[in-house]
Symmetry: C2
Subunit: 353 residues, 2 copies
């Protein structure tokens, strides 16, 4: 592979001159500069970034750590981040922290070894696990920005959506529609106060709607959603609405409700959270909370770039919180009224009061 030295010999100059010529340094006369650039292009020269990075002590690389990318929530984020990072002239090193406990720390360590100029870390549902590593990175002047929920956020640079507000809007919407028996479906609240649920609860309390613990079901997989939905439908007094903590869970809920012959929203109101593309593909389109992935990822990258470029006037960690929006579509309606006149209606209707 051709080096500066090779071009230098060919041009009859020193490698320093070639280096400067290719960098467009004003120290070099235009004639030699053009001559050398032409030579370099002809010989197919490509800078050895490894050597360059070593010398200039910076890599123009930023690392992105994401729990996974097969789950439909993250790809959009990755897309935005990748575009923004490239536009800023940096390369992207992608790491998937997966489900193993220490994988996140390993990702950070790897990026540290590779001397990434900055790190974007999206915490999964368990919050941040590589806490010490991140603090160590910050201590050694490598900026790290977190995204998602984290415990003890004030220590970190953080960008996050205000899930509590989103949850509140969602809860209020259901209350205003008149729902009084609302089921909850989702993963267990690993993240301490599970914000979107906290907001949701608050809305219900304000509306005087009780939240029955028997209607709060843990479910993460397809299988578990099936079990959960089946359990809810079998209740004497089934819910009139289901709040799935994530759109992907809502999609599974759709599927199993459909299989059970329950139609949305006539027989059951369903709402989600995230506003994936999925939400508009579903029939009926899903009412959800979102519309903030794009601004969120923009803020995410922007903050890091500011820090990487050293444009931060003060060094206090910053937290940026964006407010998501309630997106009303067609998966909600007022609950069906309980038939007052005993057994006139067919039992199948009773089930879904």
């Amino acid at each position: 592979m051709v080096r500066l030295e090779d071009i230098a010999r060919q041009a009859g100059v020193s490698h320093s001159t070639v280096s400067r010529a290719l960098a467009g340094s004003p120290l070099i006369s235009v004639e030699t500069r053009d001559r050398i650039q032409k030579l370099a292009a002809e010989s197919g020269y490509q800078v050895n970034q490894v050597a360059r990075n070593l010398k200039v002590r910076s890599t123009s690389t930023i690392g992105l750590i994401v729990p996974e990318v097969s789950n439909p929530y993250y790809p959009k984020l990755v897309q935005h981040v990748a575009d923004a990072v490239k536009a800023a002239g940096f390369s992207l090193q992608l790491h998937l922290s997966g489900s193993e406990q220490d994988a996140e720390a390993q990702c950070v360590a790897s990026l540290r070894e590779h001397r990434a100029d900055g790190i974007l870390l999206v915490t999964g549902e368990r919050g941040i696990v590589a806490r010490e590593q991140v603090l160590a990175m910050s201590a050694s002047k490598t900026p790290v920005v977190l995204m998602g929920w984290v415990d003890g956020a004030e220590e970190f640079n953080l960008v996050t959506g205000d899930d509590a507000k989103g949850g509140y809007a969602l809860g209020r919407h259901l209350v205003e529609l008149g729902h009084r028996r609302i089921a909850l479906l989702g993963k267990p609240p690993h993240r301490g106060p599970y914000d979107r649920l906290v907001g949701f609860r608050r809305a219900l309390e304000e509306g005087g709607v009780p939240l029955s613990e028997t209607l709060a079901l843990e479910a993460a997989s397809d299988e578990e959603v099936y079990v959960g939905v089946t359990k809810l439908l079998a209740l004497d007094d089934p819910p009139t609405a289901i709040f799935a903590y994530q759109d992907s869970l809502a999609a599974l809920t759709y599927k199993h409700l459909g299989d059970a012959g329950v139609s949305i929203p006539q027989d059951m109101t369903v709402v989600g959270f995230d506003d994936l593309d999925l939400a508009t593909y579903l029939t009926p389109r899903l009412t959800t909370v979102g519309g903030h992935i794009e601004p969120l990822s923009a803020a995410f990258v922007d903050l890091l770039l500011v820090l990487v470029r050293g444009q931060a006037e003060e060094s206090l960690p910053r937290q940026i919180v964006l407010t998501p929006q309630l997106i009303v579509r067609s998966s909600c309606t007022a609950p069906r009224q309980r038939p007052l006149t005993s057994s006139l209606s067919r039992p199948i209707l009773d089930k879904r009061t």
Copy 2:
């Protein structure tokens, strides 16, 4: 940031000794090795991979170039690749080649500058655009493996699914169900012979089913699918089935058919291609072709790793073609019969003849 030299001074040895100790070289006595490793751990030493890579002339990095990741087809691929690459002890550098014409070449160039040990290049719908760059890389002993459709495949290492076979299976399925007016919906065939369509056409020809050009509609965006579906429904003799070239288009088709009050599969059969998760979220579940992303990506990475490790006995480019499978779900049924005996049979049964 702490270097080998720092630890060396602290331990009263030379940096060579530290290097060897950390690498676990048998040249170093166990006592000093342990002592040094302990010291390194305490001081939070992390190898400078940039310097290391320069010296050892290899980066343990492989590049992955993908058109985009917001489109639901690619994330699964990225996930598998990332996992496999990490398991093999390599880092992943992700590049999105996007829609601009020369972006792909820029990605390859960037990876070349960074001295990636190998490149995984997923060609978009326009096939390979960075042809010369890829050939140049191969010429300089950096293996490149392509995935997707490419023109003049024999020059490259290539992994691909046999779309023609998949299309054939799909076409045959529809023919056997009795469909004779079938609409086509998708992007224009950038890729020369658009294999999945070629196979599909062949199946129809074999079944003696004509393919009307008025039923072949170009559509890529939500908007265009809406226009297309509307046009089809407005025909005097509308189709009984729609083949969307991709699951994502099928999903949009679902949406617009639903809006128009057309129910699937009773009023219209819909099939897709790719088998995204999406396909099972839709109601009814989508009949499609797929089931090969996983083996495909496995073969993709495996082939590259073999080449990177130099285990290839001969240097001829290889092509690996995997056969996808027809996945029959609930979005297809036989076309509604034209009521022969006027109104005797109940329409709802006619629907499902």
